[in-house]
Symmetry: C2
DNA sequence: TAAAAATCTTAAACTAGTTCATTTTTTTTC
DNA sequence: GAAAAAAAATGAACTAGTTTAAGATTTTTA
């Protein structure tokens, strides 16, 4: 996926690891999410509104995804209304985790955010580069390096 | 609503303004959201899981709310399955705005976050104290004061 | 497997944001 | 409408996180 495109699919990851990110005016990447096995990914805003996405998606490992198009997504609800419930609960859970993340972004220090990330995603922390982790935590790779060596020393 | 309670209701605001916030170990308040007319509020995580909430909710103006209990919420879906769709779309929209907020929290400076807030919520910015706004933006009231006078000077 | 490219580390100088203390302004209460 | 309480402003000293630059380590590619 490339910034500027209109998102045609939502993806479910069956294998691998991907990063979803924006690039700001200064060329600095900011990582919105990492998607590993059993995660949904894409840009739900662009998928819904058909406006262009600000995100790039790149696989960081060989990956396998399933995609659902807007047409099939709508059709799914029409033909099998029980899927409304499925997605209602899926979005509700997603919402809970994004509410938590947005609160942590404004109330925790970078070091605390790193410790939380490690605790919450022990399966991701060793699969991504420190540089990408820095982009997710919201700090520079240099400061990420300092934090990691400090936390490991503790 | 008080931290420690299990959330029994989700609320829809028909009049007024409320703040939803946590208080950290140092006694510093962090504001998760302001809820004005036509907003839903509460703690959806505690409402769903029946675990205790970390949030306080306080009205900052005289307010009127409608509340729905968990029992009635479940009953609603049972009796009128079309409401699954209604909530599916409601959560989908909410999700979009929290994804945006969590990205801004890690990629923008405090000044940029303030400017975005003013642009996105012109109807809220003048209804809340600077201190509460600081708690939402994620900075101290002192720094909020500096930013506001700087931005007004521009 | 050597060379090139990317990532990670370290350190010094800098800036965004905090802390603490004091004064001024606004709001609330009796 | 005076007194008290809360919010806002200001400034000086501080800390968390950035920037720039250079060297060390790991990964990728030919």
């Amino acid at each position: 996926m490339q910034a500027g495109d209109v998102t045609k699919y939502e993806y479910f990851v069956t294998k691998g690891c991907l990063k979803v990110y924006t690039i700001d005016e200064d060329g600095v990447p900011h990582i919105s999410m990492f998607a590993v096995e059993d995660y949904w990914t894409g840009d739900i805003a662009s998928f819904m509104t058909k406006e262009s996405t600000p995100y790039f998606i790149k696989a960081t490992e060989d990956s396998e995804l399933l995609g659902i198009s807007w047409t099939n997504y709508e059709l799914l609800f029409q033909e099998i209304p029980k899927f409304e419930r499925f997605y209602r609960i899926l979005y509700q859970r997603s919402l809970i985790s994004y509410i938590r993340r947005s609160n942590q972004g404004i109330s925790l220090t970078a070091e605390e955010r790193y410790i939380e990330f490690k605790k919450k995603y022990p399966n991701i922390v060793n699969r991504v580069t420190q540089k990408d982790l820095a982009g997710y935590i919201g700090i520079t790779p240099e400061f990420m390096s300092k934090i990691i060596s400090k936390v490991n020393r503790m």
